[in-house]
Amino acid sequence: MSDFGLLGIFVILAVLVPASMLLIPYMLTVAGVKPHRPNSVKNDTYECGMRTVGGSWVRYNFRYYFYALSFLIFSIETVFLYPWAVRFKDLRWFGFWAMLVFVGIITIGLVYEWRKNALEWK
């Protein structure tokens, strides 16, 4: 368990060190070393030098929805694959065929998706 304690300490430091790197410039601004002179042109949204047209928080094409669905299926498959991979020398050929059937079923789904052109980036 001590390893997870160390991990906890590490998490705290991994947050604090980058956070301090973000705070130092702020303090430098307060100290007057770093310039802070905003104006309306500088704070405008960048758009290749043209006047910005409209905002970006609009409805957009949710293209990777199919990918996200397939990702979900395969990541669940992975959850089953990892414990199998750790213990599979004990499970021997039974485990091999069982996992082959399981992955086979999901692969049939992948092939169906493929045939239906759900994997095309349109």
Partner: protein, 418 residues
């Protein structure tokens, strides 16, 4: 050292094994610290100082060391990349600041620290400021279970590789936060593309690891290194190694998969609006991920701290990491960027079937030879990998759509003929 501590009557600490990094480096910082504290509090027993305090102080020191290895390695990886890219393009690269350009990272850091920080007026200010932090923290977390040398690991997790897979995919939340909150079209497109890309390549990446886990029978990274007794896993897993390398360079948004910041199309992707140290922290995140993933590749496939010559373990490890990083830079200098649809096809129609084939071929090999794989399987593996890659490339049609020839508008034809 342990003997010394026993002589003073101060008992060894329970988590001593996790602190071996310093023993390897011959600094002996931790035993002296532990002993000094033990003696200062009156000696013979650990009583006096609560165990949790010793634990917290030593843990903080170790964690601080690892965080700094990650953060301080970044400027020099950037320098290495600039130097190597210069050489690839027949230039010299940075060589003005300090000897051989070695102080260039310092100059860059000072510049970033003192540069004006611009936040767009229309941005979501809170999310905009938090995004670099959310991006960099998971990347740093990846370093905790990396074994640098025997016993030299901060947190020797039994689920090491699973932890790394889980933690690294969290960085994309930061990417999307940054892209969305900037309220800039380029940022949004960049972030959307990255999420699609990472979601697609996460699967082959994770499946390629399964082959290594099967060979070792453990998820612990140190155990995986110990499991590579005579030859590195690369020789048993050439197909897995290819899939893993490609998937990692996509995870890292390196060329040829750098859709994240496809400069010619998207300015610089999700961090278009960032400047100053926020931009710097994002860069630290990207390059720390390269260091971390190189360490993981070295651990999984290149037998980590082990090597043929008697050299300290951490030197081997760093040497292998450097080779892999240089390999990534070489790829960046050589291969042009892919289109989005080509990348998606490569991930789902090429790497994913290959990774599944690799798992079951490996499983069959291990079950057929339960007492250890015979040496003649190594050339067979390589030949098999080459054949599978060739056949898959031919059969699965990853060449993409046939190129459509769009007739040029008449005005261009007249210009061309005149």
């Amino acid at each position: 050292m342990p003997v010394d501590r026993l002589a003073t009557g101060c008992q060894p600490l329970g988590f001593w094994d996790g602190m071996g990094l310093w023993e390897q480096w011959g600094i002996n910082f931790f035993p002296r610290l532990g002993d000094t504290m033990c003696r200062a509090m009156g000696g013979a027993t650990p009583g006096g100082i609560p165990d949790w305090l010793i634990f917290a102080i030593l843990g903080l020191a170790g964690a601080f060391a690892v965080v700094n290895v990650a953060m301080l390695g970044v400027p020099y990886v950037i320098l290495l990349e600039r130097k190597l890219l210069g050489r690839f393009q027949h230039r010299v690269g940075p060589n003005r600041v300090g000897f051989f350009g070695l102080l260039q990272p310092m100059a860059d850091g000072i510049k970033l620290m003192t540069k004006e920080d611009i936040t767009p007026r229309v941005a979501d200010k809170l999310v905009f400021s938090l995004a670099p932090l959310v991006f960099v923290v998971p990347v740093l977390l990846m370093f905790a279970p990396l074994p640098w040398a025997p016993h030299a690991v901060l947190a020797d997790l039994d689920v090491g590789i699973l932890y790394i897979v889980a933690v690294t995919s969290a960085a994309e939340i930061g990417v999307f936060m940054g892209g969305w909150s900037s309220n800039n079209k380029f940022s949004l497109f960049g972030a959307m593309r990255v999420v699609a890309l990472v979601v697609s390549y996460e699967i082959p990446l994770v499946l390629a690891i399964v082959g290594v886990v099967m060979l070792t029978g453990s998820l612990n990274l140190a155990a995986i290194v110990e499991g590579q007794r005579f030859v590195p896993n690369l020789l048993w897993q050439p197909l897995g190694f290819i899939v893993f390398m490609i998937a990692v360079s996509a995870e890292l948004n390196r060329a040829p998969f750098d859709l994240l910041e496809a400069d010619s199309e998207l300015v610089s992707g999700f961090h278009t609006e960032y400047s100053g140290m926020k931009w710097g922290v994002i860069q630290i995140g990207e390059y720390a991920a390269i260091i971390g993933f190189s360490g993981i590749i070295a651990t999984l496939f290149l037998s980590g701290w082990k090597g043929p010559a008697p050299m300290p373990g951490y030197l081997w490890f760093v040497l292998k990491m450097g080779m892999i990083i240089s390999g990534f830079i070489w790829v960046r200098a050589t291969i042009p960027r892919l289109r989005v649809d080509q990348i998606m096809n490569l991930g789902w129609k090429f790497l994913l079937p290959l990774a599944l084939i690799n798992i079951f071929v490996t499983a069959g090999e291990i079950l057929a030879y339960p007492d250890g794989l015979p040496v003649w399987l190594i050339p067979v593996n390589f030949a098999f990998a080459a054949i599978v890659v060739a056949v898959a490339a031919r059969l699965l049609g990853i060449q993409g759509q046939p190129r459509q020839v769009v007739p040029a508008p008449p005005v261009f034809e007249t210009m061309a003929s005149s």
